[in-house]
Symmetry: C2
Subunit: 237 residues, 2 copies
Amino acid sequence: MRTPHVTIEAPVASRLPGPPPPSAAGPAKTKGAPGVQSESASTGVRTRSQHQRRKRIVQAAAALASRGGVEAMQMRTVAERAGVALGTLYRYFPSKMDLVVAVVGEEIDLLESSIERRPPGATTPPGRAVDVLMRATRGLMREPELADALIRSLIMAEVDTPFGDRMAGLLLRVAGDGLTAETATEEQFALAGSLASVWVHELLEMLRGRRTYEQIQRRIEIAATRLLVDFQPPPSA
Amino acid sequence: MRTPHVTIEAPVASRLPGPPPPSAAGPAKTKGAPGVQSESASTGVRTRSQHQRRKRIVQAAAALASRGGVEAMQMRTVAERAGVALGTLYRYFPSKMDLVVAVVGEEIDLLESSIERRPPGATTPPGRAVDVLMRATRGLMREPELADALIRSLIMAEVDTPFGDRMAGLLLRVAGDGLTAETATEEQFALAGSLASVWVHELLEMLRGRRTYEQIQRRIEIAATRLLVDFQPPPSA
DNA sequence: CCGAAAAGTAGAACACATTCTATTATTTGT
DNA sequence: ACAAATAATAGAATGTGTTCTACTTTTCGG
C-alpha cells in the first residue's frame, strides 16, 4: 500500500476498488466537465440516511479535532459520537486520513464561499492572492488544533488530495481575475500552485510555533509578489 | 504533546528535556565552517560504543526504509537489526520521527558533500538552484520508498526539522554565490525558503505519482526563475 | 410480501508505536 | 578496585488504528 509511484500511471481515477457504499471521500477529479454532477451519482450514495450518516460522521470528526487535534479524533470516538458502529465508520472512510480529507474539504468549501461573499479587494494580483491566503490563515488559526491536524494529515495523505489543487485554483481565480485551470497557461497554473505550497509550508511552520502571523504575511507577500508578476489583470493591457 | 503553538514561544532551542544519552538527532546546524567537525562533541555522546550503536541504528533504519518505506522500518525490527534492545533504541531516538530525522540528516549530508565535490555549473542563480534541486531529486528518486518515507515524516515531524532550513541555506549558498543565512537579507532568505518548500511539495507530488521528473523540473524552473531574480551574482554589479 | 444482497452493529482480534518493569552490564568518581 | 550512577536488555503492558467475525436490519427486485 504505501508504495510511492514515482512514475505516473493511470490518471488515478477511482481509488476505492470494491467499497460499495458512499465513501468516495474523493474530493473528486476536477469533474471532467464543469457541468452538473448530482452528488448522488458521483459519490455512489444510495439513500438519504446515508448522507445523514456521512454528515454526522464528518461533523463529529471535526468537532473532536477542534479539541485535541488528530489524536483526539480517534476512530472509536468518532464512531461513537456519530452514533455509528466502528465498522460502519470504516465503510464510509477506509482510513482516518480519508476522514481528515473530508473534514478539510468542508473547511475549503467554507473558505470558498467566504471568498465569494466578500471577494478580495486588493487591486493587484499578488495583493488579492495575499488577501485570500491570509484570510484562510486566520480562519485556520481560529482552530489551531484542527488546522494542525488537517494540514499535516493532508500532506501525509496517500489519498488524492485536492488541497493544493483547490487552493491553486482559488488563487488563480482571484489573482488572475476569473482565470480557471482551463483558461490559465500551464505556467500560471504552476505559479499558483507554487504559491499555494509556500503558504502550506508557512502555515505548518506557524503551527510548529516557528512563525508569527506577521512573519507569514511578510513571507507570503514576498513570494506572491515574485510569483504572480505575470498575472497582470487581463483587460487593461 | 500534539499541541500546535501558533504563537511563538521560546526559540525552541533544545527539545529533549532530560534524555541523558546521545540522542541529539540534531542533523546539526550547518556546521559553521565546512572544515572538520568531530562528531563526538556535537551530539553530546559519551563513549565510542555509543557512536557505534547510534550509527548501527541509523544504518539499520535506513536499510529497512529503503525497502518497504516507513512501515517496513518498524521500531522492533530496527532495534533487532541494529542489535540493541527496544528500550535502548528509544533512549537514542525518543520516537520514530526522530529516527527518521536522523536518517534524513545523513541524506542531506550526502547531498551537501556532493554539491561541494561538484558545484552546480549554471551561470545564473536560478539555474544553479534548479541544478541543485534536481540533483537532490534524482538522488531521492533512487530510493523512492525511502524518499517517500523521509519526506512525509519530516513534514509531519513535531521535532525540529532542519530540512527546509538546510535546503534553504544550501540554495542560498549556490544561488547567491556564497551567501549564508547571515549575509543574506531577510527577503533573500525567505525566497530561498519558498523555493525549498515548492520543491518539497513537488517531490511529494511525484512520490504520489502525480508528477513526472520532467514536470517537476519545469515547475521548479518556473518558480526558481521568479523567486530568485534578485540574486544577481553580487560581484559583477 | 419473499428472499437475496447490501448495510449496519457490537465487539473481539491484530499490528505496531510507545511505555513500563525488573534485571544486568558498564561507566565513573574517588 | 568499589560503590553509586548510568546504560542496556528482555520482555510485558498499553493505546489506538485497522481488520475481522457473527449477527441483525434495510433495501430492493420480483
